[in-house]
Symmetry: C2
Subunit: 205 residues, 2 copies
DNA sequence: TTGTATTTACCCCTAGAGGGGTATTTCTAT
DNA sequence: ATAGAAATACCCCTCTAGGGGTAAATACAA
């Protein structure tokens, strides 16, 4: 049988090199491409045959989730495995909904990634430590941030005040303050400091 | 001649696996150990012969810089190469001062890491894109944060207010506000949001 | 078509942040 | 012995953040 054609995506070249070496150790795997962001992934899959895409969730430009959604919409036959730094409970529901085939923490061995790929290629799914993802859900109602809200979080990270953000986005300061209040409420946080830490740890920034 | 004995440290196992594969491709390299935080690194070098330590700068517990400083103090013969996600100008002076032998961005190929190791092992130093590190230094005077200041930054990241921090540390709220002002002034920042982003990107938190 | 989410915008209020000082004690290194 | 850094604590001030509402227009999906 022919080898499994794999596309790997991560924004750090050294991680890509490492993943490639790890996966190339198996004769039945073939890394056919590399990408450093979501757009490159989409571009690659339109032009090449790919069986499995291994996606880092934290990438500049188009993030892994958005990219995965688009792949699953346009190319439902391609299997998708998400690599993530943290157990991000905020994403697990969406990951399942989108139909992503596998999800594992970077805090894992290369062998486990190989196992996950083999399992997913055989049509099964592979969710690593899914219990870690669904913990801490006393607040089970999962909120997702809107595009505008994320835009505002990024500006906050740059140190802008509400009025400065308002100027930058050509909206009223009142609106910015409303967004900020909504964001904190959605995430059950109570200050911008907490928010920035959350955002960085969850790949929002 | 005997092979170069390398200890690699990163808090993500999958990256460790990748680095190990990349480095093992060279016959003159030998990865003799792995560590997921600074304390493990220090523990390892006390018990084993190591020529070169490759350190991720962002690790939980003891961060890469602190760890490097301790290695260079206690074992000056061990070479240290720092791996970092971002071009962190705030650290380059300290990195040079500590006597770290090499520094390169994760945004590099595995081959470049191999080259860096070979070069460092031969007694030279390897600084990748050092111009990226020293840019934007209109404010060239580098300040270092005190232990107390770092303690306060961490509390800020947890979302505590000045008065809450004061209660936690058994000091006056006035003192906390003084520390906060000093921190922002030292780093030339203007809000806690900026501060938290800076702290996370520079391994302070 | 009829909700639901999103984005926009305003009101109220209190508490806290940020920036300008000054000043003491303690500790450390020269 | 003495200069310097660090940690402590207080004064002043203005502006912003955070939290409580309400409500409109748009857009999108069941």
């Amino acid at each position: 049988m022919s080898s499994v054609k794999i596309l790997i995506a991560d924004d750090h070249q050294i991680v890509l090199d490492g993943l490639k070496m790890v996966l190339s150790a198996r004769e039945d795997f073939e890394v056919v491409g590399e990408a450093s962001n979501g757009l490159e992934v989409l571009d690659f899959v339109t032009k090449n045959r790919v069986d499995i895409v291994v996606l880092d969730i934290n990438m500049p430009g188009m993030d892994g989730i958005k990219c995965a959604r688009k792949i699953k919409t346009d190319y439902p036959n391609i299997k998708v495995i998400i690599l993530t730094m943290y157990a991000q409970k905020s994403f697990i529901e969406e990951i399942v909904k989108i139909g992503i085939d596998g999800c594992l923490l970077k805090n894992n061995t290369g062998k486990e990634l190989s196992d996950a790929i083999a399992r997913v290629h055989s049509g099964k799914s592979y969710y690593d430590q899914i219990q870690n993802f669904s913990k801490d859900d006393k607040e089970l109602k999962e909120y997702s941030l809107s595009e505008r809200e994320i835009e505002i979080i990024r500006k906050l990270g740059d140190g802008l005040t509400s009025s400065q953000i308002a100027d930058a986005l050509f909206i009223s300061e009142h609106t910015v303050k409303t967004h900020r209040k909504n964001i904190l409420k959605k995430l059950n946080l109570h200050s911008s400091s907490e928010l920035i830490q959350y955002a960085l740890n969850n790949g929002i920034i």
